[in-house]
Amino acid sequence: MQALRRSMLFMPGNSPRMLQDAAILGADSIILDLEDAVSLTEKDSARILVREAIKTIDYSAVEVVVRVNPLDTEFGAPDIEVIARVRPNTLLIPKANEEEIRLVDKTLTKIEAEEGFPSGGIKIIALIETALGLENVYNVIKASPRTVGVLLGGEDLTADLGIERTKEGEEIFYARNKVATVCRALKVDAIDTPFTDTNDHEGLKKDTARGKGLGLTGKAAINPRQIETIHSVFAPTQNELKWALRILEAMEEAEKEGQGVFSLDGKMIDAPVINRARRIVDQGVRLGLISGEGGAK
């Protein structure tokens, strides 16, 4: 079963204390950050610390993602070279464009062969935070079969666009739409940009719901206190679960009776609706809201 990525929590890569506790903070994924959270003079230190942490700390309960430095800096290549060898689940590639993703893919394939890891095992999430990256996001994802998702970086993107970043987020409406649509088309996760006011839980809730409403499937967090709110927005509601279970039951009935098309409450149920119901039930099962056999707990 594929890992859920409702929340992806950024953790500074040079803080032993944070690395120690990262797995128990409730996030689906943790992003051990070698980029923005680490000063230029500590890049070497953080790289080694994160490598040792992944080697020894039990992160089995979460997806371990490492944000390496951009490949056009002196730190990017050594980050991948060192980190890939301890086999994180995923690398988060900043300022992603097509060529870079291709290059990362090639490097990972080489390292996996050298280390005897299964080929293609280490996944990629592309951090889309430039206008070019956004417009080319379809090709960025297609650049490597390792790509399992896109993370939208609202701060850098708006800076690149030369526009103001606001709490309401009108300015990233298009970016969210674009990322959500392309990700859905290519069946990868679409992760929303973090909400930066860590004390405003109502604001976070609204912002998360806005992203979910546009089709984003998860959200990055910059503080552990944001996780619960994010999960509450992304969790299917009891009504959604009930609806989805009824659809699937009706479908089974219809199949038994050999009907291709069927209706429920007078409405025609077609493939997209069935797919949506499946996704909701699947998520409900993974969150323990319903049992695997169906039926609310």
Binding site: P16, R17, Q20, S45, L49, E52, T56
Partner: protein, 87 residues
Amino acid sequence: MKITKVAKAGTLESNDILIMVSPKDQGIIELDLESIVMQQFGEVIKQVILHKVQEMGVEGVSIKAQDRGALDCTIAARVETALNRAI
């Protein structure tokens, strides 16, 4: 591997360790450890540090370590960083 200059790595924050290394004559390895968990883990910490020094093939070094309750993986990482910086 030859240590040619003074270097440090790590911090004095909780769960971290601050390592300072400086050159010494060939064959001399000096270690001065201070730790808030000296009684419980002093020996283990020394072993982790010396093991890393050996693993990296360092032949003469003086190490001053101030530990704030770091785990072994943190200690190894900080020693490695400090030694790399001191080459």
